[in-house]
Amino acid sequence: MCLVARHLEEAGIPTVILGSAIDIGMHCGAPRFVFTDFPLGNPAGRPFDAEMQLSIVESGIDLLEQATGPRAIARTPYAWGSDDWRREYMELRPQDANALKQQGEARRAMRAEMREARAS
């Protein structure tokens, strides 16, 4: 998404990204980024919390207006509650090692199939 934001920005359209992966946003050079420290999936606010969602979107509009240079970051004040998700997302547990390898093999086979389909 950063690549799209950068392309628009280069062409004269100011952009702001709402996101929860701040490391990716910064690495990839987001021009403006509103960071909400939530599990991936709800970058515009907790489900069914219209007030929070409005506030997060407003933060994006504020940042569009107020940022004076690239890599501008605004951090929203919200916390998810429990922090278990931080540890559990993409957690590598020893008992899952074989299943993960099998998933990887399946993905590689699928991609090879896609490449062949594109080539033919």
Partner: protein
């Protein structure tokens, strides 16, 4: 003490490694970041909303391309079964938690922004940066220009 943000790049790298991929995914790392200031008051600006979710259910093997829908006929949900997001911690049952269309409409009603472009856009998160840079990003730009967008809000899952 507040918790540290999750290091998603590192976690993704380790996850792919555990799946047996030899070449880690490389995120684009630009030296310079472009920056454009809004050319007029936001209360008079037209905003384009852009998502990484898709208009229809999509499988990982399906071909991907930029797709657009009309704000006035906005679907009740978008699809993201093929994307990485935290299925254990949360859900996508509220469109506005990842595609804040109604919140933007409220800001238009309040006069904070001028209006929304007639279309919103769904951009595929391609594994291929070359494809994103060469095809998808220019297509999004074309559609934003056709719609007279002054500013854009991008919401990746």
């Amino acid at each position: 003490m507040s918790a540290q943000p999750v290091a998603y790049m590192e976690r993704t790298r380790r996850y792919y490694e555990a799946q047996g991929f030899e070449k880690p995914y490389q995120w684009a790392k630009p030296d310079e970041v472009p920056f454009t200031r809004p050319s007029g008051p936001l209360a008079e600006s037209r905003l384009a909303l852009i998502s990484t979710a898709s208009l229809h259910e999509r499988h990982e093997t399906d071909p991907r391309s930029v797709a657009s829908g009309f704000i006035d006929q906005c679907p009740e949900r978008l699809y993201a079964n093929d994307l990485f997001w935290d299925r254990k911690a949360t859900h996508l049952e509220d469109l506005n938690s990842y595609f804040p269309i109604d919140r933007l409409k409220t800001l238009v009603e309040q006069g904070r922004i001028g209006e929304l472009t007639p279309r919103f856009h769904c951009v595929p998160t391609e594994y291929s940066q070359r494809r994103t840079i060469g095809i998808d990003a220019p297509e999004i730009l074309t559609r934003c220009r056709e719609d007279g967008a002054d500013i854009a809000l991008l919401v990746p899952l």
